[in-house]
Symmetry: D2
Amino acid sequence: MSTTMQAVVKAHAAPGIELREVPVPTPGPGEVLVRVQSASVCGTDLHIFNWDPWAQGRIHPPLIPGHEFCGAVADVGRGVTTVKEGDLVSAEMHVACGKCLQCRTGQAHICQHVRILGVDADGAFASYALIPESNIWKLSPTIPHDYASLLDPLGNAVHAVLAGDIAAKMVVVTGCGAIGLFSIAVAKACGAARVFALEVNAHRRSVAAAMGADLALDPAVDNVKEQILETTGGTGVDVLLEMSGHPAAMRLGFALLRTGGRASLLGIPSQPVELDFAKDIIFKGATVQGINGRKMFETWFQMEALLATGKLNLEPVITHRLKLSEFTQAMELLRTGEAIKVILKPE
Amino acid sequence: MSTTMQAVVKAHAAPGIELREVPVPTPGPGEVLVRVQSASVCGTDLHIFNWDPWAQGRIHPPLIPGHEFCGAVADVGRGVTTVKEGDLVSAEMHVACGKCLQCRTGQAHICQHVRILGVDADGAFASYALIPESNIWKLSPTIPHDYASLLDPLGNAVHAVLAGDIAAKMVVVTGCGAIGLFSIAVAKACGAARVFALEVNAHRRSVAAAMGADLALDPAVDNVKEQILETTGGTGVDVLLEMSGHPAAMRLGFALLRTGGRASLLGIPSQPVELDFAKDIIFKGATVQGINGRKMFETWFQMEALLATGKLNLEPVITHRLKLSEFTQAMELLRTGEAIKVILKPE
Amino acid sequence: MSTTMQAVVKAHAAPGIELREVPVPTPGPGEVLVRVQSASVCGTDLHIFNWDPWAQGRIHPPLIPGHEFCGAVADVGRGVTTVKEGDLVSAEMHVACGKCLQCRTGQAHICQHVRILGVDADGAFASYALIPESNIWKLSPTIPHDYASLLDPLGNAVHAVLAGDIAAKMVVVTGCGAIGLFSIAVAKACGAARVFALEVNAHRRSVAAAMGADLALDPAVDNVKEQILETTGGTGVDVLLEMSGHPAAMRLGFALLRTGGRASLLGIPSQPVELDFAKDIIFKGATVQGINGRKMFETWFQMEALLATGKLNLEPVITHRLKLSEFTQAMELLRTGEAIKVILKPE
Amino acid sequence: MSTTMQAVVKAHAAPGIELREVPVPTPGPGEVLVRVQSASVCGTDLHIFNWDPWAQGRIHPPLIPGHEFCGAVADVGRGVTTVKEGDLVSAEMHVACGKCLQCRTGQAHICQHVRILGVDADGAFASYALIPESNIWKLSPTIPHDYASLLDPLGNAVHAVLAGDIAAKMVVVTGCGAIGLFSIAVAKACGAARVFALEVNAHRRSVAAAMGADLALDPAVDNVKEQILETTGGTGVDVLLEMSGHPAAMRLGFALLRTGGRASLLGIPSQPVELDFAKDIIFKGATVQGINGRKMFETWFQMEALLATGKLNLEPVITHRLKLSEFTQAMELLRTGEAIKVILKPE
């Protein structure tokens, strides 16, 4: 095994990224070294690349980003018992402290002291990644290889969809980025009655339809409220899955939500949002949930089980497959909105 | 409209049944008269026919049995506003009192004073049936006609399956009568990971496979426990749907249930059952639910929504279609186990 | 029995109110005539009195307002079976349609077509009130008489407090009007670990302490965030009961809420509110509930049971007892904030 | 610090126990050595002492039993960060594997590979006990010292009581051993409407009353069913807390449970139990829960919070305080039923 590896490195507190040759890390006690086979790109990586205000406040270069990946175990540190060399794995990249109230009561996904690999410490855009054993997810051989690098965003979708009843429900998904698109497929696989997708980008609307959306509308053009109310007998949808973080989409989503419905919010608004709490939440008797990360590890078990049924076709979301060394090109594809999900492969 | 109609009548406190010409009932205030198009036969009807101990204790002849049906509204009494002549309808045949604790807290399906049409008062094995407006279910035009007479047992299945999480779960169904078979289809449509069906009757096992069971085993022959534990990595199933009421099947079902699992019991044992509560429930931290009837009317909304997705193929369960006048033949088909679900049509 | 009665009447589409002698209503089928013994005043009544924009859009004079009361059954219409003359009763004044999705699935408290007695039809500020039997609540003799007229707002509090886990929880109540104050007592009676009350009015803070608040702070003066975070070990509160409808209080309440906590919103903001959804709900994995009315009739059973334990001392909230004819004086006491809850008694 | 310590040792596979001087253990990495201040005796310890069939199948001598205790940290192994020498602590003695499905989905209390200190490895009936850091519970200074050794059985009670709604509920507790008695206090502190206690031992019934039971009945003498049905208006209780494990008590408890009620089973029957599942669970639409251990660590947070309110008076349950060297006398007091909870103090 080589002692150095290829890595994408945020080297400086400035826009851009570098491809570097860096030392292969050595697993300490309880750590697992994974040879990365596929890593996929998230909007977060674009923030880091662009060095926007969020990145400036959170990222401490030098950093290897990347928090969506799969690979094979290359080496294990002392005390590791659940995986061995050669096992195919992915990983939950939110490393929880294990000691706060949330961690000790089954809510490690909202740990008060969470550390995210690929954001707060080195991640997976490299030939090898170093992961604590507790965060390793051993892959079932039934999971298609390319899907295995998508478990992080797929898990966001599964977390949101299964955060309440979904079978037999009318559902609207606002925003058809990768997580929104995954949510459509997950909701349909779990018995949703009808899934409406709202998205301004025409290509993404067509992908939404490919993922199983019963109706994909453009809120900038279509009379969304009229069409959805008509389809639901004037009642509105049972479930809002908010995946955009855009104030207008959030308000439209709440307007579509029926009295007594559930709104699961995952898209991150960059600013405070004004909402008519009286009409949209209180009189409506609505339940609103903040959705963050993946439940550890309930969401992972759910994903694996759903993927094993063969009902989740994620292929339409994977728009590009590139080499890791083509990272900058991936950034450009995401920036223009041409790509949805780009999978990178180290050489 | 004729003033008399054909009806199947339990005329005397003795085995057997009669075909009679009886007066067409007149809807009083808040009542709906339905022209029956299809009515299906339940095991309860066989108990009434055979005049077994349960029937002797519950039934007061003369009675028109039948509690699974659909038809068209023929007439409405004063004050009825939600349906009109010609509307296609089915009905919830458990008439709740509306005044007990359970009725006033959203649990009308376990009303303390429930009265069942077809058991405690005249039912649907006739050309016309008289139903309180509150119990009428207006049919969506998307529901296939023959399925519409099956909403009562399908609702039992939906109630059981959706009484807890089902998406991404390993499920075992013990007993493949009509409700057990429906449960398989519902669980699969709602994202169950794998559904195992246990049934001694070979024909019913083949129907179980047709309904989507991943594995249909004969507990009298197959090494059920070994196979299911192996498939679940030694853990056992997440959900037990007990549809047989047989003590041995119940005990086997509990033995297959994983620690922390859910057991939803719908099959009615005719005698007290001996169970190892320590091992099967307490140490296991299991949750056991008694499932009775259909939630009013949440289950009905769920059924309608699931049927509208087109994912529920109920056809394999409908083994026979007869004329209402062939009622005695239907009893014989059920007695021998040749039939699963028989649909009767008044002439 | 006299054929006319004293009534408070909103006679015209303008500020003010009149005391009039009007005919005693006659109960139709399914209706109950109640001789009012006590009626209490709600902020809604002040809106109607003042003829503010909300009232102008909702109220159709002439109207007898009043939706909090108790009394004795004076007469019953045809078909009434659950109460008889002389029975002590109160009533749920939200009359649900019984036919919408919400009503048919156990959510009648958020009926799509609700009609509120005292708002949309004549209410209880009169010697007699006419109530549908389905909405009558027969009083347990264990409930203190004056408390019996407060079941509507007490029910709001019980609904909010018991909308999630409360035992062993850290709780903050923002806004100490009558419902906020009741919430304090209910939370403490149900095992809340500590209850913090936030309120700018000094008198109400002292009443909050009398209701059992462990700490009553003035957000305009005290360093609320520091004190509450310190008391909760830096974690924040488990439960926010938002009873003010004021944007600043809502934002403060969310800032105090711990990651993974529950926010139950009952206070009605008069305008859209700006909130940092990313920080306050999404990253926090919070659950936010809109609380409207009282669950029919689960909340009523809960109230009765809690009052029967003797643990709810509502006395501190009842600041004034007046004659019904002193209605205008009650309005003045509420307007100045001097009164919290005023009980009126018809002569 | 001495290198040897006093310990109660099950030395041989036979009835009886020995007091021995054994080496003080040394904390390895991640381990905490606690100087035991109080340890209390559980029925399990009597099984071990008597060497009954259960003990013969589970216990591997030599073993130091004891799984209820508190003390001060005497030493910590490498890597321990959450406690330091001198800290007052108790501990969860169920050591979960951390790697099975249950452990990875927030159900560590029903870990498939649990190891119990005091049963499967050395426990706390000694001057010192060795505990993994993850299982240590740092005590709030507000918890009375003697109560701190009772957190294990108190936690069983809290787990059972709070496994479903308890506020405003009618509750029956069958069996008034220590956990049953604690359950009474917890249920009352959390707003239970009324708590009925069933127990044949007169002394325990009097303790039940001291713990807050509204009615303590002797099922061998009193007409329990008639009295409880009368008190609940013929409906039955909302919640059954089964703490006896006796078949007759279990059947009586289910007979008292209302339609739609919750049965939480904690008492361990020594044999399979015959129950009328049709009447007692299925038609009743009951929910039955197996309760095992304490939720890690939600139950511990709940306990601490409830104890901090000062509402839990556990004193009546502590019937004896002895020296650790008087262990055999404690066994005799438990055997005769004279003692409920015996607290032992090492010298």
